[in-house]
Amino acid sequence: MIIIGERINGMFTDIGEAVKTKNPKPLQEWAIKQKEGGAHYIDLNTGPSCDDRVAGMKWMVEVVQEVCDLPLVLDSTNYDAIEAGLKLCKKPAMINSVPAERPKIERVFPMAVEHNAQIIGLTMNEKGIPKNADARVALAMELVAAADEFGLPMEDLFIDPLILPVNVAQDHVPEVLEAIRQIKFLADPAPRTVLGLSNVSQKSPDRPLLNRVYLAMAAACGLDAAIADANDDSLMETAASVEILLNQAIYCDSYVKVYRTR
């Protein structure tokens, strides 16, 4: 289970403020802290209050790479910002994200292939987020076809079937599980799957409980990665257990430690 650390996001006040005032410290501290938590990738999002997203993303990539060698996930709807960031990444990065909309696919897929980057593809389009699993899988198929068309290795495509908060969209939650299961059958080798995990618990009490239980359920359906809180110890322990119980990693007594330090 790949955990993408979600914390360096301008939606959080400290990061938003830091991006605005070009103060690298909070970003660098969170990068190190998330790596220590066991994150495998670091998500970077300038946040809505950043006026110049291209410059903001470039700055974020540079300051985080100064202290942390984990691969980066460039999280933006501004593809110029992503492209500028990709050029600075020392390790192959991940693009977060592209919906199943033709103009955006045509912009992002060639860019990913050029920079050897991975892509998070969202099962949504101009009409929004589908209600059920079948419609999500139909959009996932468009992303899979795009990978073939533009020459992106299928393992580099991470399909996000878009989880919504359980308190307001409860009926979506099992549909997403079913979508993950079906997405794994769309190609051979299969595309990979990812979730913005913390969304499931938005504005609910005891968010870590909902997050980690859903992580385990989704993993059993074939989830490969999650954008999540890498400093939630119980979540990371769940991710470690999941790999063992699915026989993806070889068991040993120190399996939690091995998961967090590899």
Binding site: I250, C252, V258
Partner: protein, 321 residues
Amino acid sequence: MAVQLLKERYASQVGTVVLGATKEQGGTRSVSITVGGESALPFQHYEGSIPNRPIIAMEVVDVEPNWPAPLKSVLGDVVKDPALWAKKCVDEWDADVIYVKLEGADPDGANKSPEECAKVVKDILAAVSVPLIVVGCGDVEKDHDVMAKVAEDAAGENLLLGVAEQEDYKSLVAACLGGGHSIIARSPLDINICKQLNILITEMNMPADRIVIDPMIAGLGYGIEYVYSIMERGRMGALQGDKMLAMPMICTVGFESWRAKEAWASEEDFPQWGIQAERGPAWEAMTAAALIQGGADILCMRHPQAVQATKKHIEQLMETK
């Protein structure tokens, strides 16, 4: 119709371990030998690199061994003198390294002192210039003292010392760290214990590139399939990025094959089994041949003919065309 060759892309590779140290490296060996480093399944040259071939360590015991008579008679009188024995293994039988078993330390046997044991190792170091692997007699308490002394006296030679086990590894790790040696981590046919033991050893600050896995093999006809599948699983783990399984593997082929009655029983007793002189070395060579397909990097062997056959086999498997 064009046929496309299927090539697996692995995320990682097996680590390497260096045996022996030359003068420039602080030892007295004429060569040091690197094992491991594979980035594909055994001998799958077309999809990865196999930079180092499996090597053969011929076994030398510090006291005359109680091995089956047909095996001993092939080795000849040298079995009474470990230094001469080692020399013959290298000069005549082409051993890559010498595997010294300090059987004489056994309190229920010759009960040699740690000093006497260390002297045997020094004598062998003087007699041959290849790297050495040295293991104790199997008595936990005695081996602590013996291996500590060997590690100290041979400091700088970069020996491969064994064996560390889950319930007893600290003292040997400390000895290896002190004398600059590498270590054999033995687990009882159990990949989970194997991985955990490597973690415990690295937690004592032993670098992973100084650990060799001994999966505790079984010989042909006596459970070899268990160890074969465990080795294969460990190797897959290594190639998929599991750092705590990415160590080269050592197999005690000679010990396990010559325990089998089929290796040493005479033709008079078992006419249907055929000639012992052919059957015995074949039993050992077949055990080795199977285990190198499971990923063995160091084969500890006994019979010169089995060694020759295995060497030839490895040579063919290493050919890339």
